[in-house]
């Protein structure tokens, strides 16, 4: 199996995620885009782990890390949605360009 396939797939997911993060106003959609980026990173981790494990019989550290990223991602979604709820409650909107208190 060519290793380039999963890698390119991951790169595609990542760049699509970036596009989403940069272009969409809806905070929930931005969050989904971030999730895409996280998923692409786990794909990369698993792929390279397989590559390295095949060559030098290293343990499965990459997969453990992917698992951790998964768990942290789940935690992140929880906190992020809580923040979005708060934003909505204070601004009656989920558009991230409404959260501009820090601007000059």
């Amino acid at each position: 199996m060519l290793i380039a396939y999963p890698l390119v797939f991951a790169a595609l997911l990542f760049c699509v995620g970036i596009y989403g993060v940069l272009s969409r106003r809806n905070a929930v959609v931005v969050l989904m885009s971030v999730e895409l980026m996280l998923a692409s990173v786990t794909v990369n981790l698993v792929t390279f782990n397989q590559l390295v494990a095949e060559r030098s019989d290293v343990l499965l550290t990459g997969q453990v890390f992917a698992l951790f990223v998964l768990a942290v991602g789940a935690a992140e979604v929880g906190v992020a949605l809580a923040i979005i709820l708060l934003l909505y409650r204070n601004r009656a909107s989920v558009n991230i360009d409404d959260a501009d208190l820090m601007k000059y």
Binding site: V21, L22, I96, A99
Partner: protein, 701 residues
């Protein structure tokens, strides 16, 4: 050896108590006083245990030496008792040879190495217990215990009662740290802590300007001496690459050093002692330090502050021995101090000031004694601690009763305050060196030691010392009559002090009376006496021993009695200052004066009790103007320098630079904030663009 190994408890306990008192304060039982007293009592018990163990170990070592010595020449022991000086030359070499292998005086020196491995020098902090330290523990903890018990009565009702006890505990702990330290750096820490505590305590009633200026004066004057101390410590480090006392003494014994450098270092150290132990010419702070509460004066004078300098010299005694020049300087300064202060004490009206000058004078004795005899110096330190604490607490009791420091407001207090009277008499007699009280034995040891050594410094010290003894007896007689004789001149009805104040007086009067017996110069006490307990070196002990010169002791005693008689004659009626005992005094004293070739100074000093005449006036003027002026000028100069530094260096240079930086940051911020659109996605886009650029750069390189 449990006590010795755990001797660190002695300073640690009061330190912890001080912390607790400061932290918890009034919520503690007795508003902190009980904790302080209880803890210092514990420390005293530990100190007692340490003393018993150390002293008995030393006595055993001495006995072993005696035994070996007895085999060499059995006959000598008997002769030695009476006239050591005669056969000293003969026996010296034999005795040194007779010290058996492996027998040495007690020393426990343990510490923690604070330097990393691989350093070519080491900094070790720890405890050093020997006879000297054990003696100081006893003295400091006992006096501090008495002072704290006394303070519960004396300070009763003071708004800062709790704070006072916290400070007392801290003061004691600092002094004990100084004593227990096994390296000079740690000793310096204790030394400075003692200084800051005395500053806080002298200015305890800081609401009055006089008190706060007195505390500042005490602090700055001793600090002036501390400069010398620090120079000395640094020089010693430069010479031996160590702060450890044991290592320094070993290096000195090995003899590999520059003699002139050692002398310089030791004299610099002695300058520190001059400041701390109130020697001429830096003694001026001590009488002013009377502004503090009287228990503090007792603590400062007897145990914790002024003894520090003497202790420091004794601690490094083997090093001082190696430099005759330094010892000569010490002897001369001590001799000048003891006479000068004795003269000044004659003309005071404030009872505490009389005692203060007498302390300066006695410190002069100790310092001068150390130039000749280690044992004599620290023995006098030990006995003086007890009777001077007694005298100060007694004077506090008087002040408590009549609400005035001045003897002109007292008089006739014998009937009103019997306990204070009795104990004060004991203290005065001890100070006046009347046999068989404590002061007699120690002072005569000082004089005999000086006489033994001979030379011009030795002769100077014993002659001036004898004269000083006369002065001491005279002014103490004067104080006694003025305070307790005649009619009461003050206001109100004087009454005896409460029991919390009377009992410490009695408890101190007992050692003031008997403590001298621990170092009787006669044979039956010789092997187990004070000299053996505190011997730092058996060879030195064998050589020095306890000395006693009968004719000198007799002379001193007779002189003291004459002084007492004279004082009684002049002050029997307790004249008020306006009365005129001047003619009597002038005539009688002039006769005595000519005998010592000091008639002019002396008579004028006496005359000054009523009319201000020249020399005493001049010496007073010199005291208050020249010496104080020097201190003042140094202070002003420093202040000017500081102001100049402030205005030019700090305000213009540093502050200008800082302000410039701040302003430029403000300006830059004002420009840069325009870039903050508040749009998170723009920021994220910029970030990812940067990441892309980085990835390209990474790939290309």
């Amino acid at each position: 050896m449990w006590f010795v190994r755990n001797a660190w408890l002695i300073p640690a306990l009061p330190a912890v108590a001080a912390g607790l008192i400061f932290a918890l304060g009034r919520r503690l039982p007795g508003r902190g006083a009980l904790l302080g007293i209880g803890v210092i009592g514990l420390s005293f018990v530990v100190a007692l245990g340490v003393a018993v163990q150390v002293f008995s170990a030393n006595v055993e070592a001495v006995a072993q030496v005696e035994e070996a010595h007895g085999e060499v020449s059995a006959a000598e022991g008997g002769e030695e008792q009476h006239a050591v000086e005669d056969d000293q030359a003969v026996t010296e070499s034999e005795e040194e040879a007779a010290i058996p292998e492996g027998v040495h005086s007690f020393l426990y020196d343990e510490g923690v190495d604070l330097t990393g491995t691989g350093a070519d020098w080491s900094f070790q902090a720890g405890i050093r217990i020997d006879g000297l330290a054990a003696m100081m523990f006893l003295l400091v903890t006992f006096v501090s215990l008495m002072v704290q018990i006394y303070s519960t009565g004396y300070m009763h009702g003071d708004p800062r009662y709790t704070y006072f006890f916290g400070l007392l505990s801290l003061f004691t702990a600092s002094m004990l740290l100084l004593v227990i330290a096994n390296n000079i750096m740690l000793m310096l820490v204790g030394w400075e802590l003692v200084g800051i505590c005395s500053f806080l305590l002298i200015g305890f009633w800081w609401e009055e300007k006089v008190n706060s200026s007195a505390s500042i004066k005490a602090f700055i004057t001793t600090k002036l001496g501390d400069v010398g101390l620090v120079v000395g410590v640094i020089t010693l480090w430069g010479m031996f690459r160590t702060f450890r006392i044991e290592a320094i003494l070993e290096a000195v014994e090995a003899g590999e050093f520059s003699q002139s450098l050692l002398t310089f270092a030791l004299i610099a150290l002695f300058v520190g002692a001059i400041g701390k132990s109130a020697q001429f010419p830096l003694h001026t702070w001590l009488p002013d330090a009377m502004a503090g509460p009287t228990p503090v004066s007792a603590l400062i004078h007897a145990a914790t502050m002024v003894t520090a300098g003497v202790f420091m010299i004794a601690r490094l005694y083997p090093a001082f021995e190696a430099s005759p020049t330094a010892l000569a300087v010490i002897a001369i300064i001590g001799a000048i101090t003891l006479v000068m202060a004795g003269l000044l004490a004659l003309v005071q009206d404030d009872v505490k000031r009389v005692l203060a000058y007498s302390t300066v004078s006695q410190l002069g004795y100790m310092v001068a004694a150390l130039a000749f005899s280690y044992t004599a110096g620290i023995f006098h330190l030990f006995t003086h601690g007890f009777f001077k604490a007694l005298l100060f607490l007694g004077s506090g009791s008087l002040i408590h009763a009549v609400h005035s420091n001045n003897m002109s407001d007292m008089g006739g207090l014998r009937k009103a305050m019997p306990t204070t009277f009795a104990t004060f008499v004991v203290g005065s007699a001890a100070l006046a060196a009347l046999p068989p009280l404590a002061g007699f034995w120690s002072k005569d040891e000082v004089l005999a030691g000086a006489l033994e050594s001979g030379g011009y410094t030795g002769n100077l010290v014993w002659i001036l010392g004898t004269l000083g003894g006369f002065l001491t007896a005279f002014y103490m007689t004067r104080v006694l009559w003025l305070v307790f004789g005649g009619e009461y001149r003050g206001h109100g009805e004087p009454h005896e002090s409460p029991r919390s104040m009377a009992w410490p007086l009695i408890a101190l009067a007992v050692p003031a009376f008997f403590i001298g017996f621990i170092n009787l110069p006669f044979g039956f006490a010789h092997p187990v006496g004070f000299a053996a307990w505190t011997a730092f070196d058996l060879a030195y002990f064998e050589e020095q021993g306890a000395v006693f010169v009968v004719w000198l002791a007799a002379l001193a005693t007779v002189l003291a009695l004459v002084a007492v008689a004279l004082g009684t004659l002049l002050y029997r009626k307790a004249p008020a200052p306006d009365d005129d005992p001047m003619l009597n005094m002038g005539w009688a004293t002039r006769v005595l004066d000519r005998k010592y070739y000091l008639d002019l100074l002396y008579s004028d000093a006496i005359v000054r009790t009523v009319i201000r005449t020249k020399l005493a006036n001049a010496s007073y003027w010199f005291n208050d103007h020249v010496l104080d002026r020097v201190v003042y000028l140094v202070g002003v100069g420093t202040a000017r320098l500081g102001r100049a530094t402030y205005e030019i260096g700090d305000q213009k240079g540093i502050d200008g630079g800082i302000n410039g930086l701040g302003l430029s940051a403000l300006w830059l911020g004002a420009k840069l904030r325009l870039a903050q659109s508040g749009n998170v996605q723009l920021y994220a886009g910029a970030m990812f663009a940067g990441i892309t650029v980085l990835a390209v750069a990474f790939a290309v390189s």
